[in-house]
């Protein structure tokens, strides 16, 4: 992370770094609408405090002065925490999410909160209650989602850390769409405390950067057990940045036939297969594997995630915080109207489906069935991981699509998650890195799956690939820092 090293060496102050980040946001955000909130005053104050500590010779932390953004479903003391929803439009969190706190304790400075599909539900960021975000490579196209704001900024700005969250692909799919490097760590690797829950057994926090090595650095800071999250694992945190730079020779990679399904775009398949060849050239051992239940993953995901979401979103009832309808008469009417007015269409769809699958008479047929299928997906991976160290495949069967193209047909939108949801169902680490561009100059994502708690193997493969290729270095037309065509 160049910016970190420059501040450390005294070539740049924290305030200069933050000012540069704010300048870049000023350039790109009007075009991309990637940030929901920017905190120039708070960020400059925090940076000045870091500079004072540095000037006094204090240790201001390993990420001293590095600006960061978080998706707006992270609770922050700064601004509001909206989760992209009207229902939380004016909610001010009295606490920081653990991942945010860890970044701040490491000396990083919160500069902005990024756009997302409402509560993380979507794959295009078009479900944000506030505005759509545009793809920096082609502003008529979606950035992917739900961490679309973070992914768009990761490639169009420089010198910042971006955190996203991933429930069914929400870090990896927008990373693929925007040509960013995004890691969904193993479930339990990063505390979820303070992440506005969508589906608790699937949600995980991770970085979206312009390089895999930066992802490793960020993971090193945010990973680890948290007494506030009972599902965070109490396992040692490796030095991911060092681990990521180890040799990949001899690693065994599985290529599952099921991950090149019918309907995959030819250019996507072509770029991914070419990337796999690069691994082979670098000394990895590549072999075909089978994950036979892959096609059942998405239906199971739709049921499990909706069920948990219906429960997790029950708290938004207009009683203790959040939006309350003014036109209600009586308590039950107040609930129904507050929620009816506060939630967007896709969120309502998922709440209804989730309520249905948990309701009396349908639980076994839908919810339990989905959990059995979840087990099959896990078993698929357990078997494959006896033979290989990682799985490589496309992140999404399609590159970024035009705004409005899929939003009217929820199932068409769900379909783009088909290759990312298995990592969430099986609690595995998964990463997307750019591996080429389509003829329309849209990025294509290569996905790497690892064994549980072997995030460093995933990062190592990604770093090795990026050491050999330059897709991740290409600047999009809308760019705040690398002299892109329209940016400056």
């Amino acid at each position: 992370m160049e910016i970190r090293d420059r501040i450390r060496r005294g070539e740049m102050s924290a305030l200069e770094a933050v000012d540069e980040a704010l300048r870049q946001l000023d350039v790109v955000n009007p075009r991309l609408q990637a940030a929901l909130q920017i905190f120039p005053d708070g960020a400059r104050t925090a940076a000045a405090a870091i500079d004072r500590r540095l000037a006094a010779g204090e240790d201001a932390g390993p990420l001293a002065g590095v600006p960061f953004t978080v998706k707006d479903n992270f609770c922050t003391l700064e601004g509001h925490t909206t989760a992209g929803s009207r229902i939380l439009e004016s909610f001010a969190s009295p606490y920081d999410a653990t991942a945010v706190r860890k970044l701040k304790e490491a000396g990083a400075v919160c500069v902005a909160k990024t756009n997302l599909d409402e509560f993380g539900m979507g794959s295009s960021t078009e479900n944000s209650a506030f505005h759509v975000t545009r793809n920096p490579w082609k502003t008529t196209h979606v950035p992917g989602g739900s961490s679309g704001g973070a992914a768009a900024l990761a490639v169009s700005t420089g010198g910042m850390i971006h955190l996203g969250s991933d429930t069914g692909g929400s870090i990896r799919q927008p990373s693929a769409c925007c040509g960013a490097s995004g890691l969904k760590p193993t479930y339990g690797r990063v505390s979820r405390y303070g992440l506005v829950a969508f589906a608790s057994s699937l949600d995980q926090i991770g970085p979206i950067q312009s390089s895999a090595l930066d992802c490793a650095l960020v993971l090193e800071t945010i990973a680890g057990a948290d007494p506030m999250d009972s599902t965070s694992r109490d396992l040692p945190v490796p030095r991911y940045a060092d681990e990521a730079q180890q040799d990949i020779r001899g690693l065994r990679l599985g290529v599952p036939a099921e991950y090149f399904p019918e309907g995959i775009e030819a250019e996507v398949e072509e770029k991914v297969r070419a990337a796999i060849e690069v691994f082979r050239e670098m000394g990895a051992e590549v072999r075909d594997v089978s994950l036979p239940h892959t096609r059942y993953a998405n239906p199971a995901y739709v049921l499990v995630s909706a069920a948990e979401a219906s429960s997790n979103l029950a708290r938004y009832d207009g009683v203790h915080y959040g939006r309350r309808s003014v036109s209600a008469s009586g308590l039950v009417d107040m609930y129904c109207r507050s929620r009816g007015e506060g939630f967007g269409a896709e969120v309502k769809r998922r709440i209804l489906i989730g309520t249905f699958v948990l309701s009396s008479g349908y639980y076994d047929a839908y919810y339990l069935t989905a959990l059995r299928v979840r087990n099959l997906i896990r078993q698929d991976f357990e078997k494959v991981y006896r033979e290989v160290d990682a799985v490589v495949c496309p992140t999404s069967p399609v590159p970024a699509f035009p705004l409005g193209d899929r939003i009217d047909d929820p199932l068409k939108l769900y379909a783009v998650d088909v290759l990312t949801v298995p990592a969430n169902l099986a609690s595995l680490p998964g990463m997307s890195i750019p591996c080429g561009f389509t003829s329309e100059a849209l990025p294509v994502g290569l996905q790497i799956y690892g064994r549980p708690m072997q995030d460093e193997i995933v990062l190592r493969l990604a770093c090795a690939y990026q050491a050999r290729t330059d897709h991740h270095l290409r600047a999009p037309p809308v760019c705040g820092w690398r002299g892109g065509e329209e940016g400056g």
Partner: protein
């Protein structure tokens, strides 16, 4: 299965979601589509496959019974849409029979 208006209305009520007429129709259609989409799972033989109830193998995560400070005074109500400090305020809770409703 047959997705009826009644089913959608019942689930919406259970979810405490007010739906307009058009929205209800759209939701009914969505139910139909999603149930069609997931019907693929019916073809699987799941005999003897245990449901994955938890995302982790971990167990026994517990904490000691040691207090930590609560939020500072007033913070609980800071986001309240309506308050009568130090209380949250809600429309009067009255059941149809004229009785104060009880927590179920």
């Amino acid at each position: 299965m047959d997705v009826t208006d009644e089913l959608v209305a019942k689930i919406a009520r259970l979810s405490r979601l007010a739906l307009g007429e058009e929205e209800s129709a759209e939701m009914k259609e969505h139910f139909r589509k999603v149930l069609g989409f997931v019907s693929e799972l019916e073809s699987l033989d799941l005999e003897g496959v245990a449901p994955s109830l938890f995302a982790l193998d971990a167990s026994n995560v517990q904490r000691e019974d040691e207090p930590a400070p609560s939020l500072p005074a007033g913070a609980a109500l800071a986001n309240a849409p309506a308050a009568h400090p130090p209380f949250f305020l809600v429309p009067r809770i009255v059941g149809d029979a004229g009785e104060p409703e009880m927590s179920p």
